[in-house]
């Protein structure tokens, strides 16, 4: 990876890393980096504060966490984007788009590409299109699932699912980039969100979120520190959610205690995973996409 003398990744390095993932040659990556620009956002800063014409670019998040909010009012997060996510392809492809506000939840670095450059890429590089399609698929899959859960489930399950949804978002972004600014390994993930932010995302009250998180902490399933919720034992969470997805009639009405009981069982199963085969395969979009 290219770094400057003081240890920071320079613009070419960032672009190379981003475009290498999307199937472009290094040569193309370097030439694109000349057109690209890098944008830094401080915590709680909105993209519109930094750039006058937001819709003239398409953005890829190099590091940090960005929340997508509706236009008016404070604290109206719809969903989060983490590193490796692209946004702005709708206006670049001249589709009607809703003017959302993009606000950095923590310090963010974005790489911005002019819309006509992006359109050129889409028209001339099929590998890049396949990659973009895959990335947007991940987004829409998560959004649909989250919306369905928000619409139908009880508060405890919403919080539980919201935590898992965000953990998977941050965890999956690891496969898109070498560097990681958020602490994240295969089995634990840091969510840099306060309880209030989490509660808003899961449409629950702050008090209920805190009490469920407290229960989960007692069981060793999360770790709490100031402004950060760490999900531990992600594989146990995955087993529970995988079982949930495969139900004909998913249980939306589970209470906190029942969920914790399930998590406890799946942790035990994990220790004994040779005996009981849960059939969980780490989900790979690429493998599915290129399967013929």
């Amino acid at each position: 990876m290219r770094k400057t003398k003081d240890g920071y990744v320079d613009k070419d390095g960032m672009c190379l890393e981003i475009f290498a993932r999307s199937g472009l040659h290094d040569k193309d990556g370097i030439s694109l980096s000349r057109q690209a620009s890098v944008i830094y956002l401080f915590k709680n800063q909105s993209l519109a504060d930094v750039i006058e014409d937001v819709e003239s670019n398409v953005y890829c998040i190099y590091s940090g966490l960005l929340s997508v909010n509706i236009r008016e009012g404070e604290g109206r997060e719809l969903y989060y984007l983490s590193k490796g996510s692209w946004f702005g392809e709708d206006w670049a492809m001249q589709q009607p788009s809703i003017p959302f506000r993009y606000i950095a939840t923590r310090q963010c670095t974005l790489v911005a590409l002019k819309t006509n450059e992006f359109r050129n890429l889409i028209n001339n590089n099929a590998k890049f299109v396949r990659y973009m399609w895959e990335v947007s698929a991940i987004w829409s899959w998560r959004a649909i699932e989250m919306s369905i859960v928000l619409k139908h489930s009880e508060a405890d399950f919403r919080i539980f699912f919201g935590l898992f949804n965000l953990a998977e978002l941050i965890n999956s972004s690891n496969q898109y980039q070498e560097t990681s600014d958020l602490q994240c390994d295969s089995n634990s993930v840091d969510l840099p969100l306060t309880h209030a932010q989490l509660a808003r995302y899961c449409r629950a009250s702050r008090a209920r979120t805190t009490s469920l998180l407290g229960q989960l902490r007692k069981e060793g399933l999360v770790d709490l520190s100031y402004g950060v919720v760490t999900i531990l034992n992600l594989s146990a969470w995955r087993i529970v959610l995988h079982t949930w997805r495969n139900q004909d009639n998913p249980w939306y009405k589970l209470s906190g205690e029942e969920l914790i009981k399930l998590l406890r069982i799946s942790m035990l199963r994990q220790m004994n995973s040779d005996v009981v085969n849960w059939g969980y395969q780490p989900f790979s979009f690429s493998a599915r996409f290129h399967q013929t």
Binding site: I70, E72, G73, I98, V129, W133, A143, S147, N249, R288
Partner: protein, 263 residues
């Protein structure tokens, strides 16, 4: 019957060899209201094109009436994104009206995604529309007031029907109106309000003359330009109103209507 399907494939940039192969392997299925797409056919193995009718995306639950998430109208694909096969574990597609589907085996579809670059770009552009709709639906369901949600859902369907008629030639629809062939209870479950509240709104809009209700048939005609303009206003301003009441909603529609007539 396959004419529309082929026209769309051409529009998306599939080459001639591909079009011929798609046409050769395509299979037809007819669904009645209430049929589940996955039960009726081995849906994971097919790309599904809706030739006619309405299909709803719903979360898999036994009670079908309270979990509609989104609708798919004619001239769209249902599972065009190969990376999204996972989603079928959580959701299912259910026919709302009589439907005609064209099925193409996923093997053939994937082959052309891998070799035909123009087709991939075309399909990608096509799916962006859907992800946009999802974003709008998510935003409005979470933050809009019931009246706002209902107005947007109706405007939205007017747009979908408008696009459909534009692509197919306007012969299916009369000039100024479009018909939504959806029952009130399904529509209200998608919007997330009770059927009673939904009907109250429809009644108010009908009294003001912005829609025509045909109660027994559960069809309502939509004054198309008005509703399209409403949707454009939302896209332009990004406004999501969390406190709009029924009166304010009717006023908003009235204002838009007068502006349209004046200008």
């Amino acid at each position: 019957m396959i004419r529309n399907f082929i026209a769309l494939l051409q529009h998306l940039g599939l080459n001639q060899v591909g079009i011929e192969e798609f046409a050769r392997v395509a299979v037809f299925r007819h669904l009645r209201p209430g049929d589940m797409v996955s039960k009726k056919m081995e849906s994971p193995n097919y790309l599904i094109y809706i030739d006619a009718g309405f299909v709803a995306l719903r979360s898999q639950k036994k009670n079908a009436s309270d979990n509609i998430y989104s609708f798919y109208t004619a001239d769209t694909f249902v599972n065009e994104n190969p990376a999204l096969e996972h989603i079928r574990q959580v959701v299912d597609f259910i026919a709302i009206t009589n439907c005609t589907l064209v099925l193409v085996p996923l093997l053939v579809y994937r082959k052309y995604l891998n070799i035909d670059d123009r087709f991939v770009a075309g399909m990608y552009g096509f799916t962006i529309q859907r992800s946009n709709r999802l974003k709008l639906a998510a935003a409005i369901l979470r933050h809009g007031s019931p009246t706002f949600r209902i107005i947007v859902a109706m405007a939205h369907h007017a747009m979908v029907l408008n696009n459909e008629s534009e692509r197919r030639g306007a012969d299916t629809l009369s000039n100024n109106s479009a018909f939504l062939n959806i029952s009130h209870s399904l529509m209200s479950s998608m919007v997330g309000v009770s059927r009673g509240v939904f009907y109250q709104h429809l009644k108010a809009f009908a009294d003001a003359g912005y829609i025509n209700l045909e109660y027994k048939k559960m069809i309502f005609g939509v004054h198309r330009p008005l509703w399209l303009n409403v949707l454009r206003q939302i896209y332009d301003s990004g406004r999501i109103d969390k406190s709009m009441t029924l009166m304010e909603g009717v006023d908003w529609l009235g204002m838009t209507f007068r502006k349209l007539n004046a200008g």
